[in-house]
Symmetry: C2
Subunit: 152 residues, 2 copies
């Protein structure tokens, strides 16, 4: 068994335990070098947070314990295909790679696929199912200049 | 001034105050009916959480105080164009609509655009800049069946 498979199977074990405790079937482990530095599950059932997906929980945990920059050295192993929220968080934080076991196709019969959201994000704003309105405000224009001046 | 503009300008005011306090130039308000029920800013500078964007903070706050279902009655007003993590969270939670003032084009000169991540998400997995690997595991197959049996 490769290390990739070993880490994925650990993520699956976490997901299965989460189901036993009333949670959703998602787990994730994050590896830096040859070491698992974070393990997480979907915690919607315990904290009521709809953003508390396994991968996002793991990313938050690592940022808190090791700092944001450390995420660039990390590889994420997820039991299920990352939703676009979690995949975007990986892009935002610069993680090196992600491996997943169960696909959106596997999840589709159970309502556990996020393929439909990916599909929406691929459309122009005006064609998406969520009503997205761009309303420029004169007051907003100085914001980014103000911010950039604070960075120097 | 319409209510939409009023709420967007409130989000901008929050963003400007956040910059004054050393934070990033992003604020959001969430409205249910005619009432602002949540206000939030990007809190990366205070809590070190790379997922603590204004919109995600507001969504978490509402879920905690009013429950997830209440998000379906909500409209989000963001000072800046939602990143794909935050937009995905809006899809996941079923918010009604989102309005934003500053666009990704406005943010581009300051490194405050997430257009590049949207662009990645529009590609097939194998063509994205983040290495995304699907490795099915036999152990993963029973997970969703196990979960669905817990739902009945």
């Amino acid at each position: 068994m490769t290390d990739h498979d070993k880490y994925l199977q650990r993520a699956i074990t976490l997901a299965a335990k989460n189901v036993e405790h009333g949670g959703r079937p998602f787990g994730a482990v994050v590896v830096r070098g040859d070491v698992i530095i974070a393990e997480a599950v979907n915690t919607l059932h315990t904290d009521g947070d709809p953003t508390a997906h396994a991968e996002l929980n793991a990313i938050r945990d690592i940022a808190e314990r090791f700092g944001n920059a450390s995420l660039r050295e990390c590889v994420v192993y997820a039991s299920g295909q990352p939703c676009p929220m979690c995949l975007s968080a990986m892009y935002l934080t610069g993680v090196q790679a992600v491996y997943f076991a169960n696909s959106n196709e596997d999840g589709e019969p159970y309502g556990l696929s996020t393929a439909a959201i990916y599909h929406q994000l691929q459309k122009p704003l005006a064609q998406q199912s969520l009503a997205i309105h761009h309303r420029p405000q004169a007051e907003g224009k100085p914001l980014y200049i103000q911010w950039s001046q604070h960075q120097s």
